[in-house]
Subunit: 387 residues, 2 copies
Amino acid sequence: MRDFTFFNPTKIIFGKEVQKVVGEETKKHGKKVLLHYGGGHIKTSGLYDEVIDLMRKAGVDTIELGNVVPNPRLTLVREGIKLCRKEGVDFILAVGGGSVIDSAKAIAAGVLYSGDVWDFFTGTAVPDQVLPVGVILTIPAAGSETSPGSVITDWENGNKRDCDMLRPVFAILNPELTFTLPPYQTACGASDIMAHIMERYFTRVSNVDLTDRLCEATLKTVINNVHKVLNDPYDYDARANIMWAGTIAHNDLLSTGRIADWASHMIQHELSAINDVAHGAGLSVIFPAWMKYVLKSDVSRFVQFSVRVWNVEQSFDNPEKTAVEGIERMEAFFRSIGLPTRLGEIDIRESDYERIISNCKRFDGDSVGNYVKLSCGDIRRILELAQ
Amino acid sequence: MRDFTFFNPTKIIFGKEVQKVVGEETKKHGKKVLLHYGGGHIKTSGLYDEVIDLMRKAGVDTIELGNVVPNPRLTLVREGIKLCRKEGVDFILAVGGGSVIDSAKAIAAGVLYSGDVWDFFTGTAVPDQVLPVGVILTIPAAGSETSPGSVITDWENGNKRDCDMLRPVFAILNPELTFTLPPYQTACGASDIMAHIMERYFTRVSNVDLTDRLCEATLKTVINNVHKVLNDPYDYDARANIMWAGTIAHNDLLSTGRIADWASHMIQHELSAINDVAHGAGLSVIFPAWMKYVLKSDVSRFVQFSVRVWNVEQSFDNPEKTAVEGIERMEAFFRSIGLPTRLGEIDIRESDYERIISNCKRFDGDSVGNYVKLSCGDIRRILELAQ
């Protein structure tokens, strides 16, 4: 096990109707709030009106900025920063999923910074002073509600990059708010959550029994509950298990003492930067291909993954067979919940490969990933396996 | 799943040599520190000198109070409170195991309170203003390094009581510091950790898949690593897995969305109050007896426990057989690591039962526990099963 520091001070408020406390919680941290959100869903659902009303009752002055889109845009972040400076905003409330939260974090980090916020994403500056951010989560997927990370796309230049900025001060998690999430988005969320766990699970650090098992526990929970919510979108407990698993998957507990991989995420980011594919859908394509490619370098770990997560009966005389069967079950699972597993399904063509590969390399140095350090040739082979 | 709030802001600093940061971490929170510790072990090991030196280098003024004993005493807590007031202490550093940390928390809560600190334990007052507490952990067991709880014994009146007071601001966890822990204390620690998980595991709240699996993962990790450290006390990774499991077991993550039981802990506290038995040893006696007694009220949960935690092959036509086998394996496990499983082994006699039962009832109202609400008669039957 490796040395680590774990500090996750986000206050989680979880359960039915818990958004009712948003005014009082916000008041502890700020007086002038930017309400940041995405499309019209929170308006049609009534959540927008509820939040505005709760803020008013708590005596918190609120301005707003909507229109965050999936793969959130640098242009909107810059607009948000300008707005916050002009209006003297001292707290940002993100109401939505990972895109809204990531956008809110970037704004919160940019407001008090004299340079351009993209500096944080290119690594030429590090966030120092940030505004506090609070969250009402409506899509369990990105884990951004307690993670420090933010992923922003500079659409003009086709670059999607991440940066650790800040952890929200509170995260309000009401599984009821996810009842109306469409099946495809629910499935994409599950894929994203699973990917966060698997990036951490596949490690070269040995003797990490506890986090191995915690990863397996969280993965199995997601796998076992996704079909339940697809069958019955109003299954509160299944929604709740997935929502809490989504937070645990990415709050850094599962990587304590380990070195995580992140190659599949890196490659996926470049797919999204090309054609705006949903993050979870890109991951359900890339992860199986990545596994098939790296499998032989560490068969025993894939055997453990197959047996413990996918209930594969172990072929003791043929570990590779066991390992492959786990990956096949994962692919079948993704297909069963309506997700793509091939690049063609998400409109990525062979002519895109060079750009994907060169972007991966441009930002991530000589190699991508930690579990297996991938060269340009390796990434090409993975893309070919995903064809 | 039940609604919950989860807020655990203790900064965990985990790994080899991490105690080196204690001066700098302390300096962030206080200027005048009470170093609180137990017996002479930290002096013979060199840890005491190292801490004093690090505090001096960080420019932190340090006074000390040692002599904390297992089942820490109210008398020493009162002495610590007086000392802190006299010396203007603004931070307490606990170096030791759960007893030292619990004693430190009680002092930290008492210093700024005008009444007597025992008021918190009898429930006549609630801790409001507290001094910050930091921890260097030397015994993985109680989980007090990130939990809010403190358990103190009023020895004069034979009462052992707990109270939620504060979570430490930082916890320094170096598994190397546990290399010299004797086998019996190592085993008692494991039993304590397992009990913290099992108190949460046995719940009537349904559809708590995620926390069920997280509990099982943490339990299996402890079970699989205890023999490793008993065979080789210097097995760093095994010590590390147990140490981190001990924290996870009691930081409240595993009870999110659940109602925990705590009956076995309640009964055990009364055993310790009678004859100062080690907490983990009392638990390895009480828990199997409690399980045997409540088993029939919820066989399916014990089947899950047997199959998932103890790898019992399920008798599909005889669930109770499967359930009993899990409990038997747990008892055999406790014996295999040198722990008692019968009251006679810890010098509790039938003549003590009345006092145990009446103390349980005096402080815990009409019934003890949540999974099954135990009457006086139930507690007597459990004690008889532990004979």
